[in-house]
Amino acid sequence: MTLWAYYWAILYRAMEPKTVQVRRIKSVDQEMPVRVVESSAHSQVSGANSGQTSPPACTLLSVGQAFSGTQNVSNLQKEEAWRVNVRIQGCDLEHGYLCGTMEALNVPMADTPVVTFWEGEIVDTKNYTFYTGKWEATPEDDIRHWTKFPSFQSLLTRVEIDGGKSLDLSNYPYIFMRWKEQYFVNVGTDCGLTIAGFYYVCFSCSDGSINGFYYDPNSSPFQKLELKTTNEGRSGFSFSSYELQ
C-alpha cells in the first residue's frame, strides 16, 4: 500500500574514500521472545517508579509486520533517497527487545538489494532509557536526536534529568526505540557497505508509521528514515504468527 523509508548513511572511509558504507549499530544480549502474540493488559506501576512498564502492545509492531519507505541519504552534493523495506521478526516487550530485517533497494554500487539483520532496544524506561550509553552516543547526542521527533517534546524535561527513568510510557501513543544492524544477510562483509551506526526510531501506535534518524559520528547527521505499514496488496491488514518452543 505505501512505500517505506529506509535510512542509510553514506560514508567514505578515510582509507577507502570511494567505498559506499552503510552505517548501523551493534546489539545487546537479550532474551529471545518465545510467545509472539500481543501481551495482555498493561501493568500500571504507581509511586516514584512509575514508568517501569511495558510499552503498549500494538499489532502493527508485531512479528511478520512489514514496513516500507525511504532513507534520505542526501548530502551537499546531491539529493538522494533509497527505498527501504523492513520486516519485524521478533518482538519481546517484556525485555524491550525487537528485531527484524532491513532491505535497501537501489543502493549505489550494490548489484542486488542489501538485506541486514537488526536488533532493537525499546525505550520502556525499565530495560532501556532514552540515554544510549554506548555506540559512541553521548547524552547530548541522544537528546539532539530524540528532539527531532515532535512526539518527544513533552518528555524532554524529564528525560534531561535521568534519561527518562521516572517516566511511565505504558500508555504513551508512541514507542521510541534504537535499531542497530548486526550483520548482512545476503551479502558478505566485503560488499563495500558497513553497518557502524544506529537509528533513533519513533513508532506511532495510532497509524503504524515509523520515523528514524541515523546516527554515526563519522556520517552526515540526521539522515531521515520514513516508513509506513504495508498490506502487501491486500484489502486490509493480515497477520501471521509463530511461537518458539
Binding site: 537479550q30 529471545m32 499489532t59 500508555n171 497509524d207 491488514f237 501471521s240 504468527s241
Partner: protein, 657 residues
C-alpha cells in the same frame, strides 16, 4: 583341540561355582546351628559388592532361606543379653539381607517378598546394641530404594517412633530415621507434621555427626523443604538463620557428596521461595560449587549436572551469574570427554539446555564453541534419554532469532538427523525432536526447501494424525511455524499434504491445544499472497465452516484469538472472501443466538478484542466495494454498537484499551 578344552574348562568352572552356591544354600537349612551360622557368614562375604552373585543366590532361593533363619532367631530371642550365639545369627542374617538390598532393586524386592520387614523392625527395639545396629543398617538399605514400603507419618505414634530413631545415639539408627523421611515424606501435610514435631531441629543437630549421617540428614531436610513455602519460611527465620547458615557452611565441606547434598538443600529452598538466598556471595559460591562437582568422576558428578539444572532453570539471574563464571565453557569441556556414561551425558546436555533457554549471550557462546556439533552427534546416541536431552538442548539454542535469521540451523547436518528422530521408537524423543523442528523451521530466509526435500513435511503431516495428542500438538506447531511468512510453494506443499478435510478435523480436535495450533496454522496459510486465501474455501469451505463452529463454541481465549485472525486474514481478500467471513460472523444471529464476535469484542482479554476488531476493520474498510453494506449488516446485528461501546474503532491502536 584348544577350543574344546577351553570350553570344557569354562563349563567345569561354572559347575564348580554352581555347586559352591548350592552348597551354601544347603548349609543354610542345616539343623546344626554352627553350620548355619558359618554359611550365613560365607554368604555375606560372597555377595558383598557383587551384583552377579547376589542375583545368582537370589535365583536359587537365598532370600526366603535367610528370612527363615532370621524369623527363627528372632522368635528364639528372649531379650536375654547373654544368648550371644543366637544374637550373632540375627546380626549375620540381617547383614546378609541388607547386603542383598544394598543399591540393588532386585535384591530389595526379593528381601521384601521374603517377608523380613516386620522382623527387621523388631530388631530396633532389641536390648542388644549390635542387633539394633544390624537391623538399622539393613532397613536403611531397604529405605534407600523406591520399592521400600511407605512409612505412614499420619498414623498414631509413628512420628513418635521416628523421633526416637532420630534421637538415638547409634548413627545407623538415626540415619535410618533420615532415610525413612527421605523415602516417605511426600505431601505438604506430612512436611508440616514433621516440622511441627521438631524433626527439623533434630536433623540440624545430626548435621554435626559423621559424614554419612550428615549426608542423610541433608537429604531429609531437602525432602521436608521441597515446595513447602511455610516450612521453608519458618526454617529460614528460626534461630536467626543459624540453621540455614549451617547448611550454607556445608557447601564448602571437604567431601564432594556432602557439598552436593548441601547444595541441593539450598537449591530446594531457593526454588521454593526465590526471596531467600539472595546474597550474591552465597549464590556465586553455590553455582561455582555445583558446577565444579559436575567434574567429579563418580556418582556425584552424574547427579551434579541435574542439580545445576535445577539451580538455573527458568531463572534468568542465575543463568547470567553462571554465564559469568564460564558455565557454558565448563559444561562443554565435560561434554567433550570420551565414553560418557549416558546419565552424565544426559545431565550435561540438559544443563546446557537450561543455560541457553533464555539468554542470547549463552546461545552465542554455545555456538561459538562449536558445541552444536557435539549435540548433533548425540542425536544418534543409543540411549533414548540422551537423544531426548540433545533435542531439548538444541531447542533452547534454536530460540535465537538472530541465528535463525542467519540460517544457522536450517542445514542438512542439523535437519536430517532431526527428521530421522521423528520415526524414533520413543515418544519422548519424537516430541523433543518436534520441539526443535518447530523452532528451526522459523527460517526467515528461503531455506525451508531443505526441510521439505528430506521429507520433513510428509513426516509432520503423518504425525499430525497420531493417536497421541502431544504428538499431534507438536506436529501442528511445527507446521504452523514452517508456514510463518513462508513462500507460496512451501505453503501449497503443506496444504497439499494435509488436505482440507484433515485440517478441518484437526480444527475440531478433542484437545483444545491442538485446535489452537491448527487454527494458527490456517492463519499462516491464508496470510501472504492474496491467492492463499482460497485454501479455506476448498472442499466446499469445510475449513471456514470448522473455524466458525470452533469460534462459536470456543472455551479458551487462545482459540478465539487464532480463529479470529483466520477470519481477519480471509477478510483482506476479495469481496467474495469478505462476504464469506460475514456469513460466518452472522450465521448465529439469524437464530437469535449471540454471535461470538459480540462476545469477543466485550472480552476482558485485549488480545482477543484486538483480533476481533481487526476482522471488523478489514470487513468495513473503505477499500472494499461492499463495505457500506457490511457496515449496515454488522450494525443490524449489534456488532458495531458493541465496538463503539468498547471504544475500539481506531484501526491501529486496538491493543491498548
Amino acid at each position: 583341540m584348544p577350543t574344546a578344552s577351553s570350553t570344557t574348562a569354562t563349563a567345569a568352572g561354572t559347575n564348580t561355582s554352581v555347586t559352591a552356591t548350592s552348597g551354601i544354600l544347603q548349609r543354610l537349612s542345616s539343623t546344626d546351628q554352627d553350620v548355619k551360622f558359618k554359611a550365613l557368614r560365607e554368604l555375606k562375604n560372597q555377595i558383598i559388592g557383587n551384583r552377579t552373585k547376589k542375583l545368582s543366590f537370589l535365583k536359587l532361593g537365598a532370600g526366603p532361606a535367610v528370612a527363615a533363619i532370621l524369623a527363627e532367631a528372632v522368635m528364639a530371642d528372649d531379650g536375654d543379653r547373654n544368648d550371644s550365639f543366637n544374637k550373632n545369627v540375627i546380626v549375620q542374617a540381617a547383614a546378609v539381607l541388607g547386603s542383598f538390598a544394598c543399591g540393588f532393586d532386585v535384591g530389595v524386592q526379593a528381601v521384601l517378598d521374603a517377608g523380613v520387614f516386620p522382623n527387621l523392625l523388631r530388631l530396633l527395639s532389641n536390648l542388644n546394641e549390635k542387633v539394633v545396629d544390624a537391623g538399622a543398617r539393613s532397613l536403611k538399605m531397604i529405605y534407600q530404594s523406591k520399592l521400600a514400603p511407605k512409612y505412614d507419618f499420619l498414623k498414631e505414634k509413628n512420628v513418635e517412633f521416628l523421633l526416637s530413631l532420630l534421637n538415638s545415639e547409634n548413627e545407623n539408627v538415626s540415619g535410618l530415621g533420615s532415610s525413612i523421611i527421605t523415602h516417605s515424606c511426600k505431601t505438604s501435610v506430612e512436611q508440616k507434621l514433621l516440622f511441627d514435631a521438631g524433626v527439623l531441629k533434630k536433623l540440624i543437630i545430626l548435621l554435626e555427626g559423621s559424614p554419612s549421617l550428615r549426608d542423610s540428614s541433608l537429604e531429609s531436610l531437602a525432602t521436608i523443604f521441597k515446595n513447602n513455602l511455610e516450612v521453608v519460611s519458618k526454617f529460614v527465620g528460626s534461630e536467626s538463620g543459624r540453621a540455614l547458615s549451617s547448611i550454607i557452611e556445608l557447601v564448602k565441606d571437604r567431601f564432594a557428596r556432602t557439598r552436593l547434598l548441601a547444595s541441593w538443600c539450598l537449591i530446594v529452598i531457593r526454588n521454593t521461595s526465590p526471596c531467600y538466598l539472595q546474597d550474591i556471595a552465597v549464590k556465586t559460591k553455590l553455582t561455582n560449587t555445583v558446577l565444579e562437582l559436575v567434574g567429579d568422576p563418580g556418582q556425584v558428578g552424574d547427579e551434579a549436572s541435574f542439580a545445576f539444572s535445577s539451580l538455573i532453570a527458568e531463572k534468568e539471574d542465575m543463568q547470567k551469574l553462571a554465564f559469568e563464571i564460564n558455565a557454558i565453557d565448563k559444561l562443554y569441556s565435560h561434554l567433550q570427554k570420551d565414553s560418557l556414561h549416558p546419565r552424565r551425558f544426559e545431565g550435561i546436555l540438559l544443563a546446557l539446555a537450561d543455560m541457553c533457554s533464555k539468554l542470547e549471550c549463552c546461545r552465542s557462546r554455545f555456538l561459538s564453541l562449536q558445541a552444536l556439533d557435539s549435540v548433533i552427534v548425540a542425536l544418534a546416541h543409543d540411549s533414548a534419554d540422551v537423544r531426548t536431552a540433545a533435542c531439548i538442548c538444541l531447542r533452547s539454542v534454536s530460540r535465537s532469532i538472530k541465528n535463525l535469521s542467519a540460517g544457522c540451523f536450517m542445514k542438512e547436518t542439523v535437519v536430517f538427523p532431526l527428521v530421522r528422530l521423528l520415526d524414533d521408537p520413543s515418544t519422548s524423543v519424537q516430541v523433543a525432536a518436534l520441539g526443535v523442528i518447530s523452532n528451526i523451521v522459523v527460517d526467515f530466509t528461503t531455506r525451508r526447501s531443505s526441510f521439505i526435500r528430506c521429507g520433513g513435511v510428509k513426516q509432520l503431516v503423518q504425525l499430525s494424525k497420531s493417536m497421541d495428542a502431544t504428538i499431534r500438538l507438536n506436529a501442528l506447531w511445527a507446521l504452523r511455524n514452517l508456514t510463518f511468512q513462508a513462500e507460496n510453494k512451501c505453503k501449497e506443499r503443506v496444504f497439499m499434504e494435509l488436505t482440507a478435510s484433515l485440517l478441518a478435523s484437526l480444527i475440531c480436535d478433542p484437545e483444545a491445544f491442538v485446535q489452537e495450533q491448527a487454527l494458527a496454522l490456517v492463519r499462516n496459510l491464508v496470510d501472504g499472497c492474496i491467492n492463499s486465501v482460497e485454501c479455506v474455501f476448498a472442499e466446499d469451505g469445510i475449513i471456514l465452516d470448522a473455524v466458525g463452529r470452533q469460534l462459536q463454541s470456543a472455551l479458551k481465549v487462545e482459540i478465539g484469538i487464532q480463529g479470529m485472525y483466520v477470519l481477519s486474514n480471509v477478510a483482506t481478500g476479495k469481496e467474495f472472501h469478505k462476504e464469506a467471513v460475514m456469513k460466518q460472523l452472522l450465521r448465529y444471529a439469524e437464530t437469535g443466538t449471540q454471535s461470538y464476535i459480540v462476545k469477543f469484542l466485550q472480552s476482558n482479554d485485549s488480545r482477543l478484542r484486538t483480533a476481533a476488531v481487526w476482522a471488523i476493520v478489514n470487513l468495513t474498510s473503505s477499500l472494499g466495494a461492499g463495505a457500506s453494506g457490511r457496515v449496515v449488516k454488522l450494525r443490524d446485528a449489534g456488532v458495531l454498537r458493541v465496538r463503539t461501546a468498547v471504544g475500539q474503532f481506531s484501526a491501529f491502536d486496538v491493543g491498548s484499551t
